[in-house]
Symmetry: C2
Subunit: 452 residues, 2 copies
């Protein structure tokens, strides 16, 4: 169904804002993107970014507007984890079946490319223009220098809030009655660090791996960039025995890396400089509802559902929001009220599911990686899945390599977990874990589930 | 320990704000209370109020500053529920043991009295003065006509946010990183209605009862006032078959009352007038953390922990916050950082517990009152508690008539629930519910708990 051309404002020029602009331009709408920050193409990156891992849902959305190829150019496939366990040789875990990979992309580089593409598609960008207020029923926005300065008023037909976890648009919706909202921070922070390329421009570590140095309550990860460097992220508790709180001097930082990450210490050349130049950032799970206001305003991406980054799905979920919106625009044409109602109804349970899965991954990493029974359980699941790939698709694969709803992945994962709890109670499971009996038990439990 | 006199601002002149002012004046502090609304002593009440049920925790706090007697004058004891079940004669349920009662007080009348008392104690009130911004580290507040008008700056030593569920002070704290926050609305709204007194000034219903007309998904309650009237509250879903949404005309409202509340229809003389004059209000559970900012700012009462009203503990919990603060002021003198840290550490789990208990009461009322097994369980508990008052104190009594922590009441209640789930599995429990065997089973299960 075609749509009548509307005058649309998007607040936020991040990844979701600029991709949404491209989709809306394809439908023939007039699109203006506001951002309180300067044009990211004209400034240095923030030093507070975790590299993105684009997976199936992200690519699917890009494909829908013909951008897949253009973005592959700035992405590096990672088909496995490289596990740098303390005092052991590196070992590898494939992410999926042959050829399945997630793709490392620098957030800054991707954002610049997306803005270029949106601009080419006819989007108007207004950088350095902060939105102070939104009139929801009238779809008006008010921008200005400060809260007290003279404000400029803009009238639109529709407004999309793509302004992230601390969205101004949502903030306005939140002051209304019957708006559910929550923000919950985890007690772990993160910091960006860099491994520069070799002098010849090549990568210092295997470039097709997602590198992980798991250390229980904290960990380091490294994702490759196309310039030969790696963007590393140190996840570490804010407070406590081993924490950001305890690293106050260059000596502290060096000692911390010598002790826990000796095999990578020398790669991070500007370690102490990065450490004290780059900010320590917090991570939040943000949920809200409703996501839309009548046929006037809708939240898309992090502004509607910010999640912790431990499943690598934040951007993918935001891009999938846009894919869904686009489907509904095709279905319902000018009935924006219907589009918005269906959009939030379809997406909300999926956003909640990926929030839950991401949080669980954080909990697993911080409390279960040292639990031998947990590791044994994962080993049994993997063993069984390899033998019966049709009967046991791991949750990770459902989330990362399929486009089935996140909520379905969560529900099936919970079923699998129940089965595994039964399996773990089997006598001598530690020695029998790869036996025929265990395999039969799982098959029987799977059949039972199907029967109910 | 004595305290050095501080210059203190309280935002909000409600019940918690005015009681806190009285406590702080007793300690010799200089106190200014700001409120964006006019002086409640000079205006009509809002018509959106549920009568208060003051119970033990509220009285205990008032007693500590010598106000108990003065407030008893405007309160009416209710020692029982009067249950107006559809098509049956009224029956009664005592709240506790002999002499235990909760006390009905009009929120408006109590608030006026508290402001009088705070003023007599030397508090300065600044009504009609809206706080637009708070500088947390500097303890400065900014007030003014509008967001754009010239603001007035005030410098204080300490600021208390007693500005309710939609607190401006908390709102400022919420914009900081690592501040946990949630607001969740229930899908039931409420509306204030009035049963006026008889022509001779007497009450139309028994005045020492909390009157309830339970109707499954909705209900009406009536609490006595000292002028002979009753303040009624209709709790009803916002949307659905029987809902506020479906009552659009005077005829709708009359028909609704004729159908579901025939025995009280004629008492609510101005029913349709009240119905369409008074607003329909929403109910929210609001949680946040931290509650304090260094040694400068603290949230007290609803601004820190708004709860749904189904346990009658909102004001009581807020008054208990103040009691706790006062204890800590006595203990730690001028160490306000310590006072604030301990205050939030002690109160937060208890605020979460009463939020949970209040929400569960709502769920019970709306989904379990028609469940015969649930009613049987309640009957067994009551029967057992009457025989063994030392072994089984109902959660309601712990919350309402004791001053033990809310969190303890919740934990013990959960233990009791586990025991009852075992009991309800006994064969023929429907016919054996008052047998020796059931009694012995409960005693045994209680002993088991103690042993673990």
């Amino acid at each position: 169904m075609t749509q009548t051309s509307k005058n649309i404002a998007i607040i936020g020029s991040g990844l979701v804002g600029s991709l949404l602009a491209i989709f809306l331009r394809k439908k023939g709408h007039s699109v203006t993107v506001f951002d309180r920050r300067p044009d990211i193409r004209t400034i240095e990156f923030s030093g507070r970014s975790i590299n993105l891992a684009m997976s199936n849902r992200g690519w699917k959305s890009l494909r829908k507007v013909g951008l897949e190829e253009s973005i592959r150019e700035i992405a590096i496939p990672m088909d496995k984890r490289a596990m740098h366990v303390y005092d052991k040789p590196v070992y590898y875990q494939n992410y999926g079946k042959d050829g399945e990979a997630i793709w490392s992309i620098s957030r800054g580089i991707l954002n610049r490319r997306m803005i270029d593409l949106a601009e080419e598609a006819g989007t108007q960008f207004r950088f350095n223009e902060k939105v102070w207020d939104v009139d929801l029923p009238e779809a008006k926005i008010y921008t200005g220098e400060t809260v007290k300065s003279a404000w400029k008023e803009y009238q639109f037909d529709l407004i999309f809030g793509c302004d992230g976890a601390f969205s101004r648009v949502r903030h306005k919706m939140q002051r209304r009655s019957r708006f559910d909202y929550s923000q919950n921070f985890i007690d772990v922070g993160y910091k960006e660090l860099t491994i520069p390329p070799n002098p010849d421009g090549s990568h210092k570590l295997g470039k097709n791996s997602f590198h992980i140095w798991p250390r229980g309550k904290f960990m380091l990860i490294a994702l490759p960039n196309i310039d030969g460097s790696f963007t590393c992220t140190l996840f570490l508790p804010f407070e406590g025995d081993i924490s950001f709180d305890r690293i106050k001097t260059e000596e502290d930082a060096k000692a911390f890396f010598e002790t826990y990450f000796p095999n990578v210490r020398k790669e991070i050349e500007n370690l102490t400089q990065d450490f004290f130049k780059n900010p320590t950032s917090a991570m939040v799970t943000m949920k809200c509802y409703p996501w839309t206001y009548w046929n006037k305003v809708a939240l898309v991406g992090d502004s509607a559902h910010a999640i912790v980054p431990f499943y690598g799905q934040g951007m993918n979920a935001g891009f999938e929001d846009i894919y869904q919106l686009d489907e509904l625009m095709g279905q319902y044409g000018d009935d924006w009220e219907r589009i918005f109602v269906e959009y939030q109804k379809i997406r909300k349970p999926n956003a909640d599911a990926i929030a839950e899965l991401s949080y669980r991954n954080f909990m697993e990493m911080s409390s279960k990686t040292a639990d031998t029974m947990f590791l044994l359980q994962k080993k049994i699941e993997k063993h069984f899945a390899a033998k019966h790939p049709d009967k046991w698709i791991p949750v990770y694969s459902r989330v990362t390599f399929s486009d089935r709803p996140y909520a379905e992945a969560l529900a099936i994962g919970d079923e699998q977990e129940k089965i595994m709890q039964e399996v773990m109670k089997l006598p001598d499971i530690e020695s029998n874990w790869d036996s025929k009996e265990v395999e039969k038990t799982i098959l029987r439990l799977l059949d039972n589930k199907k029967a109910t």
